[in-house]
């Protein structure tokens, strides 16, 4: 039932624990500010040099990418060993050594689809956090219908020429390279898409940050004006990018769902309600709001139990549980409901934008509420999620 015998695993755990205790810099025990997120890359700023030290030590062991082959700089760990490593990292309350779209999204598909040369070239810098990647997928006219993308890529003999525009490119203004879906055949839809990698410093690339309804954001619009791309930076075959694109989306969704849109942070809903609405007989004084908070909290608990069950079942069945299909949809609904109730519970304290007169936690909650509206849009809209459940899981057919 396991990849390695318990005794070997026990030994691995002991070694790992010892190494981590020796190598995790204690100065990182302080809470991580948002600015301290270790995204790496050429322009990385390390407000605490120990964060860089931690990255370098982990990268040297390949433990930023624990299960990738050692040949590409990874840790070469089995799934079981990786679980032990993650458990030990949690035990230590360690900060992540590296956060990276390269690790979470690009790397896994390169391992599957790239040439040996490409793997050698691109994977080790990801492991070491030297190159920071961004994702060139959505376009103004291609949101839910991603395959409708129009960014043109023309074969110019010795190079490709890219023209067009992407949108929702997270951290495009911070990233070093981009993995980018481009149209290489305008006569077909899905079969006319290719998967291209290029440097964001290439002339003609221009990212512009997007301001959201919740304020500044990591998102950018990214414009391509006659961007020349070497031909060996195509992954997979020409016009064969759609399969790679979809596979990558699976990794992205796993990532989003696991986080549950970070719902847990900040003060608890019921405590906010008690503080701002008042308490009567130990209960939130507004029974209508109390009932709706309980309903939400029960939904959230059911969601958490479903994530756990889906994981257990997927592991047991060595394939995804049907419950997995609903997680993104339910996570978005849950976080949005929570955010709405939070702003409602805060009353007028939930109606601030910035400045004096509002509690900083309340201002954060209001911004989070606005930001939560994107949960049912980004990474596949809820409408598309429901379509997928109806068709792939329930077997309902397309309208003719």
């Amino acid at each position: 039932m396991t990849d390695s015998a318990p005794t070997e695993l026990d030994a691995f755990r002991a070694e790992t624990r010892a190494w981590l205790e020796q190598n995790y810099p204690r100065s990182l025990d302080a809470p991580m500010a948002e600015d301290d997120a270790p995204w790496g890359g050429r322009r990385a700023k390390w407000s605490n040099p120990d964060a860089k030290l931690w990255l370098d030590r982990m990268a040297a062991k390949g433990w930023t990418a624990p299960t990738w082959p050692t040949a590409y700089g990874g840790g070469g760990l089995s799934a079981e060993q990786n679980r032990v490593l993650q458990q030990e990292l949690i035990r230590l309350k360690a900060r992540p050594a590296l956060m990276s779209f390269g690790l979470w999204m690009l790397g896994p598909v390169l391992l599957e689809y790239a040439t040996e040369e490409q793997k050698q070239k691109f994977l080790p810098p990801i492991v070491r956090g030297e190159i920071r990647w961004c994702q060139g997928y959505s376009e103004p006219g291609a949101g839910s219908d991603l395959a409708g993308l129009q960014t043109r890529c023309e074969d110019q003999g010795d190079h490709y020429l890219v023209n067009g525009q992407k949108v929702w490119t997270s951290y495009a203004d911070q990233a070093d390279w981009i993995f980018c879906l481009v149209r290489t055949d305008t006569s077909k839809k899905h079969e006319g898409i290719s998967f291209l990698l290029f440097d964001m410093t290439t002339p003609g690339v221009e990212p512009r940050p997007i301001k959201l309804i919740s304020g500044s954001s990591p998102f950018c619009e990214t414009f391509f004006d006659n961007v020349k791309v070497p031909k060996d930076q195509l992954v997979g075959r020409l016009n064969g990018g759609w399969d790679i694109a979809k596979r990558l989306l699976q990794y992205e969704r796993q990532n989003i769902s696991a986080s549950g849109f970070g719902g847990g942070a900040g003060p608890e809903l019921e405590d906010v309600a008690k503080a701002f609405v008042g308490v009567s007989g130990g209960k939130i004084a507004d029974p209508d709001l109390r009932a709706r908070i309980a309903e939400h909290r029960m939904y959230a608990k059911a969601f958490a139990l479903t994530v756990r069950r889906a994981e257990a079942e997927s592991k047991a069945a060595k394939g995804p549980s049907a419950a997995t299909s609903i997680i993104k949809y339910a996570a978005a609904k849950m976080n949005q409901d929570r955010s709405e109730l939070m702003v409602e519970a805060l009353g007028t304290q939930g109606l601030g934008w910035e400045g004096e007169g509002f509690d900083p936690d309340a201002l954060k909650a209001t911004r989070a509420w606005l930001r939560s509206k994107g949960n049912s849009i980004e990474g596949g809209t809820s409408e598309v999620n429901l379509n997928v459940v109806a068709k792939r899981v329930l077997g309902l057919l397309d309208h003719q």
Binding site: M298, L305, A323, I326, V389, V393, L394, L396
Partner: protein, 378 residues
């Protein structure tokens, strides 16, 4: 979220096979039309006993299999699918729990073996109002000599006509609304002064109004400590809630599957109606609710079996979620079937009627939302 053991898989498969052969929905229809007063098929109940289903949570010492609540939940889910009427909930789930958790050796000896072989039906005579409120118990039990005298009424007692005995919540001190001062009694149906009136319920489950007019019982009928019965009652009720939630999950799952089949076959406007996006989205939302409910039901049953410290909250969660889901799905079943779903000849109405009865038993979504919030301290 424990993966099923081999024994559990076998139990589930056996239940699935048995209900499809011996107790499809048409069996409920037959029972209803024959107007059977006990509300279930005694021959089928005997078979359940032979298969060991009545003793799944009964200790081995008393002839049960001691497989636990998750296992009983598997059986209930399958019997729920076809709306099978039986004393599983009243007797194998609730009464077996009360007795196992709180009865003395003699009481266990006398009754648990009979439960395990489906040789006795024991009904819960708990609530006294139209809404579930165990602490509101008012039925008076007063000391008389060595024993007690019970006076009061228990309306809508599940399996009340079939019951050989009742587990009766009575007030021995304090006031209605207080948890302290409640005592549980095990009262034989034959006790003088006990009478019952059959209720014809909307879902054809068996039920009765039970009346206690100076029913004299011995001291040996007290289960556990006098005045201290509420804790035991609440523990047993939680087991009943989780088990009933499993049955409701089965009801809702089957209702959904029947509806999904209809969406795939019914043609209107030259299209199978399941191709219409609004119906697709509603189906996907129902599926989401069913998956969430399953997680809650399994977690509650697992927590009971592993003696977890969050049993109460999880049981309220399971019952509330199952109530909401079976409510939604049974309504959608009728609506998506259109006119045919409104006819008595179709099964949709049977699922909807059963749904509302299940929702109300042992507390509906509103009761359990309130209980959950209180347990969580807000």
């Amino acid at each position: 979220m424990a993966v099923l053991t081999e024994e559990q898989v076998m139990l589930k498969d056996a239940a699935k096979g048995w209900v499809s052969e011996r107790s499809p929905v048409s069996a409920l229809r037959k029972l209803r039309d024959a107007d059977v007063d006990v509300g279930f098929d005694r021959a089928a109940w005997a078979e359940m006993g032979q298969m060991g289903w009545a003793g799944v949570v009964v200790p081995e010492t008393y002839g049960g299999s001691e497989f636990g609540y998750r296992s009983l939940g598997l059986v209930l889910e399958e019997t729920g699918r076809t709306l099978t009427n039986s004393p599983l909930v009243s007797t194998a789930l609730f009464a077996a729990s009360v007795l196992t958790l709180g009865a003395g050796a003699a009481q266990k000896e006398a009754w648990l073996g009979r439960i395990a072989e489906a040789g006795a039906v024991i009904a819960p005579a708990i609530d006294e109002h139209a809404h579930h409120a165990p602490a509101a118990t008012a039925l008076a039990a007063t000391r008389s000599g060595d024993g007690w005298t019970l006076t009061g009424k228990k309306p809508f007692v599940l399996d009340g006509m079939a019951a050989d005995a009742f587990i009766v919540a009575a007030r021995t001190s304090g006031k209605p609304g207080e948890e302290a001062g409640i005592t549980l009694f095990l009262v034989p149906a034959s006790a003088p002064g006990l009478s019952r009136t059959r209720l014809k319920t909307v879902d054809s489950r068996g039920a009765a109004d039970v009346s206690f007019e100076g029913v004299a019982v011995g001291a040996d009928t007290v289960i556990g400590q006098a005045d201290q019965g509420f804790g035991l009652l609440d523990q047993a009720l939680d087991r009943a809630r989780a088990g009933l939630a499993a049955e409701m999950l089965g009801q809702a799952s089957q209702a959904f599957e029947i509806t999904l089949d209809y969406l795939k076959t019914r043609v209107q406007f030259g299209q199978v109606i399941g191709t219409f996006q609004s119906l697709q989205h509603r189906a996907a939302k129902m599926f989401t609710e069913l998956e969430m409910t399953r997680s809650c039901v399994e977690a509650a049953l697992d927590a009971i079996d592993s003696n977890g410290n969050d049993v109460r909250a999880l049981c309220s969660l399971a019952k509330a979620k199952a109530s909401e889901t079976v409510h939604l799905v049974s309504n959608e079943m009728v609506q998506m079937h259109g006119g045919i779903g409104m006819t008595d000849a179709h099964d949709a109405g049977l699922y909807m009627k059963r749904a509302r009865v299940s929702e109300a038993l042992f507390g509906g979504a509103s009761f359990h939302r309130d209980r959950y919030a209180t347990l969580m301290g807000y």
